[in-house]
């Protein structure tokens, strides 16, 4: 869902603690291949199961930057301006394991990210809002201390 100019969030209507994004993001093995191609990060652990297991991982894992990129994209879809991010930071706390689908096409999602973004701070004078993001896959928090500062009109 992308906000159009008419529905872009106004800083005056926000309160600290408001949840502004609450969504899920499915992830498939095909998504990892597409991200590898788009980003140039062809690390084998993100697409080859045998290699991932050889280096001690449970299975193929998503690029941490695919997870971060996907959730920050939801933030800019919410602000309605993809150039509105002043600062985005995270800690990668847990792996997102993306096994091959047991049947059907490799485009079938085998992992799911849960994202909520709440308003952490508002600087009305500067027109800047800090969103605090919680991102999990299954029972694991996969991004920690994730904060995105955005400029709102």
């Amino acid at each position: 869902m992308t906000n159009t100019a008419a529905s872009r969030p106004s800083i005056d209507a926000l309160t600290v603690g408001d949840t502004v994004i609450d969504t899920t993001i499915p992830v498939s093995r095909a998504d990892l291949i597409a991200y590898a191609a788009a980003s140039g990060d062809h690390n084998l652990i993100h697409w080859n199961e045998r290699y991932a297991k050889e280096v001690g991982l449970p299975n193929v894992i998503a690029h941490g930057m695919l997870t971060l990129g996907s959730v920050v994209a939801r933030v800019t879809d919410w602000t309605g301006d993809p150039g509105s991010v002043l600062d985005a930071r995270t800690r990668f706390t847990s792996m997102v394991v993306v096994p091959d689908a047991e049947s059907g096409p490799p485009t079938a999602p085998t992992a799911q990210l849960a994202l909520t973004a709440t308003v952490g701070a508002i600087d009305a004078e500067a027109g800047v809002v800090r969103l605090d993001l919680a991102v999990s896959a299954g029972d694991d928090s996969v991004l920690g201390r994730t904060q995105v500062k955005v400029r709102l009109a």
Binding site: M1, T2, A5, I25, D31, A34, Y35, A37, A38, S39, G40, D41, N43, V55, G64, M65, L66, L68, G69, S70, V72, A73, R74, T76, D77, G80, D81, P82, G83, V85, L86, D87, A88, R89, T90, R91, F92
Partner: protein, 149 residues
Amino acid sequence: MSVNTDLQGAQYSLPAPFEVGREAIAEFARAIGATHPAHVDAAAAQELGYADVVAPTTFAVIPSQRCEALYISSPDSGIDYSRVVHGQEQFTYTRPIVAGDRLAATTHVDGLRESGGNAMITTRTELTDADSGEPVVTVTSTIVVRGEK
């Protein structure tokens, strides 16, 4: 082989500017599910006041990881890439990246320490406008090199 701590403070620069193209922005936006039309439609970007299509926030990882790789993949670094996991990442923007930008990149090895058999390495990559020299975005990245057990 262990990580070379003598490289604390070292710098690595891309030999030529990274040229930001519309197709690369569109492909990256698609890969992360960024749906705003300003990623793909120059007219939509211009409506928001940008010269051309706007890159997603984390697009900066492409030139920054390319520059970081000059350090990480150099035989000098002592880093076994198969043992690297990503620890932290931060983007601090001066202005958004748009198609047509030519970005110069320099990676600084800011932090390099070993603890408990692991090494934690923090790099800071400054992406600047190659033509004007003005800052665009600072990308700070921490990787952990897992020790051999």
